[in-house]
Symmetry: C2
Subunit: 333 residues, 2 copies
Amino acid sequence: MSLAFQTDAHRLRGVTDLRGGIDLGGTKIQTAIVDPGGKVLGEARHPTPISGGPADVAQTMADAMREACAAADVSTEDLIGVGVGSPGDADEKTGVVSSARNLPGWEGSFPLGNTLSEALGTKVRIGNDVQVATEAEFHLGAGREFSSLVGVFWGTGVGGGLVLDGKPWLGRGAAGEIGHMVVKRGGAKCPCGRKGCMEAYAGRAAMEAEARRQHEEGVKTDLFKLMHKHEKPRLTSGIWERALDHGDHLTAKLIDRAIEALGTGIASAVNLLDPEAVILGGGLGIRFGDRYMEPLTKEMAKHLFVDERPPAVRVASLGDLGGAIGASLLFAR
Amino acid sequence: MSLAFQTDAHRLRGVTDLRGGIDLGGTKIQTAIVDPGGKVLGEARHPTPISGGPADVAQTMADAMREACAAADVSTEDLIGVGVGSPGDADEKTGVVSSARNLPGWEGSFPLGNTLSEALGTKVRIGNDVQVATEAEFHLGAGREFSSLVGVFWGTGVGGGLVLDGKPWLGRGAAGEIGHMVVKRGGAKCPCGRKGCMEAYAGRAAMEAEARRQHEEGVKTDLFKLMHKHEKPRLTSGIWERALDHGDHLTAKLIDRAIEALGTGIASAVNLLDPEAVILGGGLGIRFGDRYMEPLTKEMAKHLFVDERPPAVRVASLGDLGGAIGASLLFAR
């Protein structure tokens, strides 16, 4: 299904058995060099540029990939290829990424595949960030023992990925938008502009907006105090955790509300697909998954049609490197 | 994936190229003899027994199949096999059907596959009624031009079936429960006992219960008058249509409410799976699909994450015979 982008067809390629992976996130660019067994031989992490445009982001990605290569003692030209897990609308066939609104100046389209291929001297494939992270968990992480799973990445937004009968299911290219399944018709406004989406209650950005709204209305909370104290520009998952540990009431309330929405939406997805497992990842998912496993599965149980055999629910096990490892697997599909 | 049940392994089998199909519904048992091109050569319809138990239902099924065979001038022993689209929990591997609560005395388990195989002298395969109807539309009906689709059967309940990349997706055997995707957390009570399911607003049985409740509270409606006049035991889809045509206000309101729930739930399914098409079938779906296509797609559009290219939405084209034809295809998978 994927095509590869290569600027010089004559060059020898794949003289090692190593693959590169790049996880292109809104705050960081994580790269990894991965061997055939899934082991990471080198990695690097750079902050995502907050100004400029797609070309600047591509440049930072190339730099971070070269740095990971140096750590693994390999040159970019000698990789089998470099996979990219990208936000926005990532077209696997053309390597063009559009509407990546979390990235600077990326409202339009940019030929990320071709640009990186030229910069790195190797083939490049582009995939959806959440989908490749789901595939990483499927092949190498918490989903290894299952043949079908739904990946739920609970972070700034709530993204999803699907593996059915051992293969990624992409639909017409945009499958997996579990965060925009409706959990409450006519409900809260979602950052996407629609109403009642799971993400409107569970996404970190939506949770922060709600916390800010309530704080401005006079509800007491330490969330923003902690944010300033730790010099964070936003309510990171770490700040949410600290506030929760401090017994902050609003924090507990908003996380409970997020868990309710997650449990409801995940149950809907399970009723439709009946997968063997659900893998919970993402910044908040990894931080709170174990701690909230019981309330989450209880919430799911309320809505599961076949409630006597719920799917396994596991926290993603590859952590921060899952996205980059998954991206490298675009050259193993 | 399916196994077949045959009591006499020595007998010659499949001496014709014809397949039998039985749609086992709560009110009627529809049978059909289908040729390799999907053409129906004979059919019969019997009322489903309303008393007795599974053995009586199986007997009526066998009688109806023999009658269809007589119409097609073939004997049951000469069929390649007979497929059954069954409600309840239909185990494709064992041919056992459990918890078919719309059928008399069928709270437990019954070996429907083996029983019918013995009665008919041919192989029998059991599938889920809604899934096989979806496959019929995929192979021979409104879904022919697509490679992936979600079938939505809007009738007494709301059932669903999935075809992904040309193949049925059954999950662990219970996929497709689109009617029990949640459209409103904490919302209306569903006949399944849970809250806020799509079926709680859109299922015919739930709509009837709500109409009755409002009527008893004094809301004016001709629904029940029409039901008695036409000597129906319940508010059939035909009664709903008559009342709508008579300008009955409550009828219009409850159908609008059903359409809202359908649009919301279908959009959630599309956001998750991104299929090429949605096929709307079932008693109410076939009766109201064309008439309500515009409000339905408008309602969907409110919640579609990729709203610039919605899936095609088509009304099922095989009508009442779709279930039996789809069941016959269990011998073509």
